[in-house]
Each structure stands twice: as C-alpha cells, then as structure tokens.
C-alpha cells in the first residue's frame, strides 16, 4: 500500500499515574484498511484507543492524524478531528436515560448540520446495519450485552466518520452474532469507505476482515504484518497466543 498513512504513532509511552502501560510503540494506519490490534487482556489495548482519541494524554511520543500532531492541535482542530472519528466502547457505553434510537441520533443532533427530518431515518439506517432495524424505541436496559455493543457501534458510525475505533467487538457475543460481525464490518467498509482499527483479544472472530495485524504484548508491539504472516510467525509469544498455551506463571 503506497498511500500516506492517516495515523502515525511514534514512540508512544503512556499509562496511568506513574504506572507505564504502553512502553514506546510505533505504527501506522493506512486509509481504507482494517487494522486489528491483538493482545491478551490487560496488555493496554483499550488504553491505546483512549490515547488515539485523545481521552488520555501520552507521557511521551506522538500521534499524528493526516500529518498533524494532536498535541499541537488547537481546540477547533481537535473538535474537527473528533467529528471524523467514531469510537465504539467495550461495553457499549450507552446513555441509559435515552432510547436506543436517541442514543444513535445524539451525535447527529449535536453536530447540528443535519436535516432534522432525516435524523430518525439515518439513525434507523445505522441500526439496521447492526441488525437492530426495529429496536430504536427500546431502552438500553432492555438489551443484552451483545446488543448494547452493536448499538454502540451504530452510534460510533452515526455521523459517517472516516475512522472508527472498535474496542473488543466480539467479546461477549454469541458465535452467530460474532460471525455476522465480519459481514457488518465488510459491508460498512465497502459501502462507506471507512478505515477501521479493531482491538480484540481473539483474532478468530474477525479473521476474515483483517488487512493487517499488530500484536501487543507487555505494552510493546511484538508483531506488525499481514494475517498470513502472523499465522506463520515464529515469535514465541505469538505462537503461544495462537496455540493457546497458558502462561507458566498462571498455572
């Protein structure tokens, strides 16, 4: 892929308080690709997403979008950037006081450049992408975990962002829904020209959609390459992950 990267991450160090979780990672995200960030739970995947959308400040290193460092952006630029980004949280993070439809419509209402009469139609379209066409009137409390996650995804793509970050899309989903997820992701990518960064601890669930895989271990990137390459990689931790060998310390 000879295109210029949309996101360039360089030597990113970050954590909570004084504890370092990510110890200097660098990678690129190219337009139109589906990048899967793989790693055991607790290795810092969610932390990485929080950094990428500016919810957490790095200790050092840089994150550039379209060549511009987010540290150097002023408030307007940052706002503008956030309008191009969709984030779908691990557990949906729906607003409990609003219906499912209102949750999805919220970003459209708030960004204010949308025809009012279109908003309900658009919200329902996004819901139909995740298989919940006629669930708009439900309250979040009436949804199962997997459904909440799908609504969260619908909300993340509500304003047709350029980039979507997807935290653990398949965790907690039944196999049928998880398999349907591939189709959803591919449909959306094909028809809406999205770039996606998908964070997960199980590659299996989204195997067929990954263009490129990055593997995180102990806050470092131990692999960066295509799906075919990771299947045959001989890094011991990568093998351990794929062959499901438990850590000795846990046994």
């Amino acid at each position: 892929m000879e295109k210029r990267p949309i996101i360039e991450v360089r030597d990113l160090v970050a954590g909570y308080g004084r504890e370092v979780v990510l110890r200097g990672i660098s990678f690129d995200v190219y337009p139109g690709e589906i990048l899967v960030v793989l790693g055991a739970s607790g290795c810092g995947k969610s932390t990485l997403l929080k950094l990428l959308v500016g919810l957490l400040k790095p200790m050092s290193g840089s994150i550039r979008y379209w060549g511009k460092d987010i540290k150097k952006m002023d408030e307007d630029e940052l706002d503008h950037l956030l309008h191009k980004i969709g984030l779908s949280f691990q557990d949906g993070a729906l607003f409990n006081s609003m219906t499912v439809g209102e949750n999805v419509a919220l970003p459209m209402v708030e960004y204010g450049n949308m025809d009012r009469e279109l908003i309900p139609i658009l919200a329902r379209m996004k819901l139909s992408l995740v298989g919940l066409t006629n669930s708009g009137y439900l309250m979040p409390e009436a949804l199962s975990g997997g459904m909440k996650k799908r609504v969260g995804f619908a909300r993340a793509i509500a304003i047709d962002p350029t980039i979507v970050f997807f935290d653990e899309p398949s965790a907690g989903l039944d196999p049928i829904t998880a398999a349907g997820l591939d189709k959803i992701i591919l449909d959306i990518r094909r028809l809406m020209e999205l770039t996606m960064v998908v964070v997960t601890h199980e590659l299996d669930s989204i195997r067929s959609v990954a263009d490129r895989v990055i593997m995180l271990d102990w806050g470092e990137i131990i692999f960066d390459g295509t799906l075919a390459q990771i299947e045959t990689a001989d890094h011991p931790r990568v093998r351990q992950f794929f062959e499901r060998i438990p850590d000795k310390t846990i046994l």
Partner: protein, 370 residues
C-alpha cells in the same frame, strides 16, 4: 428546476431522474416532487438512479424519505436503474424503506389502571413488610441463633454513618440552638421573662428539635447513600449475583446498616441535643446576661427525664424509617442509571415525610397521655 433532478409525467406514471449527487437541496426537492406528483393522484412514481454515481448514508436517507412520502399518499414509489455501489447500498438498507412498526404496549382500561395502582400499593406494602421482618431477623435473631453477623461491615457502617456524621449533626443543632434562643428571647423580652429562654431551648431540643434535625440530616446523608449504593448494585446486577451465590441480601447488606443506624442515630441525637443547648447557652451568655450557673440551674429545673427519653425513643423509630426506606427504595430499582437518581430523591422525600408523620403521632400520643 434543478439540473440534478428532472421529471417526466404521463397519465398514470411519473419518472424522476437523478443525476449527480443528492445534496440536501436535491433531496428536499425530490421529496417535494414525489409529494406533489403523488398528491395529484398518480399511483406510480419511479425514481431513476441510473446516473447516480454513488450513494452515502445521507443521500440514501433522502431516498427513503421520498419513498415513504409517496407511500403515505397512496402512491407506489419504486427505485429503478440502480447498479454497483448504489444497488448494494440500497439492498443493505432495504428494511429502512418500510416504516418502523409501531410497538404494541399492553394497556389497561380505567378500572384496570385503578386496580393496578391499588395492587401496586399493596405489593409495595408487602415488600416493605417482608423487608422489615428480614432486617429484624438478620439483625437480632439471626446473630443470636448463631447464624452470624458481619461484624467488620457493621463497624465500617458505624464509622461511616455515625462517627462521620458527628460534625455536621453537632454544627447544625448548635446553630439551630442559637437561632431558637434568639427568636424566643425577642418574644420573651416583651414579658421580661428572658429567664425562660433556657427552659424553652432545653425542652424544645430534648423533645423535638434534636431528634428531628438529626433525623433529617442523617436521612439526607446516610439514607440517600444507602439508596444510591443499593440501587447501583441492583442496576449492575450485583444484587442478583449475591442472590445467585445463595447469599442472603438481608444478612449481607441490610443487617449491618440496620444495626449501625440503630446504634448511631440515638447517640447522634443526644449529641445534637447537647449541641443545641450549648448553642442556646452561647446566645444567653453573650446577649442575655446569663452565667453558666444561672443557665444550668434554669435548664435543670425545666427539663424532666421524660423529655429526654421521649426524644431518645423517637430517634430509634426515625432510624428504622431511614434504613428501611433507604433499603427499600434502593432494592426496588430496576433499569438504568437515571433510576438511581430518582430512587435517591424518592427515598429522601419519603424519609422526611415519614419522620414528620411519625413525630406528629408521637406528639399526639404524649399530649393525650400526660
């Protein structure tokens, strides 16, 4: 006429041609055209998408709106000539061209609703009754019968509800003591009987002010916290988890709170009483010329042990009201985070109301028995 939208009409059918992207202006015009054509009685409207280069969410939404607008007026709107990405997009969004089904909700008639309210009230009363029995059992009989009490939790609760409230309870009663002394001093000065300020303050605080003020402070502080905690646990399914593990909610969560508030509130009330009297004394000394001895003598002469026990006894009942109302409102929550706030509000309002009602009953009782 927009150059991206043109139309051809025959007797019964009309065709709209789209070329170029569907901007908001074009989309709005498309909807208007379909509405206009359909309202003239045309039964067939086609929208030709042959020359549409591509579709995004927003332009697709305009198509959906146009199709639905036609259908509302009884016309059949069909999309023709779509190919490539446009066709795929429309296929993916097929379900959206149908209007959303209206969800059905079960609805009672008037009598049914009236009956429903009555049943609800009765159910709630029964639940509260069971809660009281459970709380009493697991606080007193359970531990005595060797079924255990969570001592650590109890001590932590006493620390939180009791010790933690001493400051605010004493301060509020002290300030109220000052105010009451000021008020009564002005009134009694007219009869040159400021001496009676001391007795007024002490009797007022022993019987009414200390128990009520302390009760209200504790219900706002602890009662609200109990409800918020239990409601949050309920919402996040922690309560279900406890029950699922076979643990008894009354023993695990309620008994420690019940015992703790039963211990704390009477002691806090006594402290509040002392603070209130001290507040009164401060004013008496500063502006009415009392000395400690004269205030003390007047106080001792005015107050009877019965006044103090009256306030003390009441505080036990207030404690029970606060903890039962708090637990009940927390546990009855079902739903999401906004329910937690609503439950907490309901608990505090109920607390204050029930405390005042209980106080009134006590006042009546004492009035007629002495």
């Amino acid at each position: 006429m927009n150059r991206d939208l043109s139309s051809k009409e025959s007797d019964h059918a009309a065709t709209l041609h789209l070329s170029g992207d569907i901007s908001n202006t074009v989309g709005q015009q498309l909807v208007n055209d379909v509405t206009r054509i359909a309202s003239r009685g045309n039964r067939e409207v086609s929208i030709d998408l042959k020359e549409l280069p591509q579709l995004d969410s927003r332009s697709c939404a305009w198509l959906i709106e146009a199709v639905r607008a036609g259908r509302r007026l009884g016309a059949r709107v069909s999309l023709i000539g779509a190919h490539g990405q446009v066709a795929d997009f429309i296929e993916l969004m097929r379900a959206n061209f149908e209007p959303p089904p209206v969800p059905t909700f079960y609805r009672d008639g008037f009598l049914g609703r009236l009956g429903g309210k009555a049943i609800e009230a009765w159910d709630e009363a029964r639940v509260v009754g069971n809660l009281i029995i459970d709380a009493l059992y697991w606080s007193f009989l359970g531990p005595v019968g060797g079924r255990g009490l969570r001592w650590k939790a109890l001590l932590a609760e006493i620390q939180e509800m009791g010790v933690g409230a001493i400051g605010i309870v004493c301060l509020i009663n002290f300030l109220l003591g000052l105010v009451i002394a000021m008020l009564s001093a002005v009134q009694l000065r007219m009869f040159n009987m400021q001496i009676l300020v001391a007795s007024g303050v002490v009797i007022g605080f022993a019987r009414e002010l200390a128990p009520i003020m302390t009760g209200i402070v504790v219900s706002a502080r602890t009662g609200a916290a109990i409800t918020a905690q239990l409601a949050t646990m309920k919402v996040s399914e922690e309560i279900d988890a406890l029950k699922g593990m076979g643990l008894n909610v009354a023993k695990f969560l309620i008994a420690p709170k019940f015992l703790s508030i039963l211990v704390s509130l009477p002691i806090l009330t006594i402290m509040g009483f002392i603070s209130g009297v001290a507040g009164g004394f401060l004013l008496g000394m500063l502006s009415l010329g009392f000395t400690f001895d004269s205030w003390w003598a007047q106080t001792l002469q005015a107050v009877k042990l019965g006044d103090i026990t009256q306030g003390f006894v009441k505080s036990f009942f207030f404690a029970m009201i606060i903890v039962i109302v708090g637990c009940h409102n927390g546990l009855r929550v079902s739903g999401g985070a906004n329910e937690v706030g609503r439950a907490t509000t309901r608990a505090v309002v109920m607390d204050i109301f029930l405390i005042i009602v209980a106080d009134m009953l006590f006042a009546t009782l004492f009035y007629f028995t002495t």
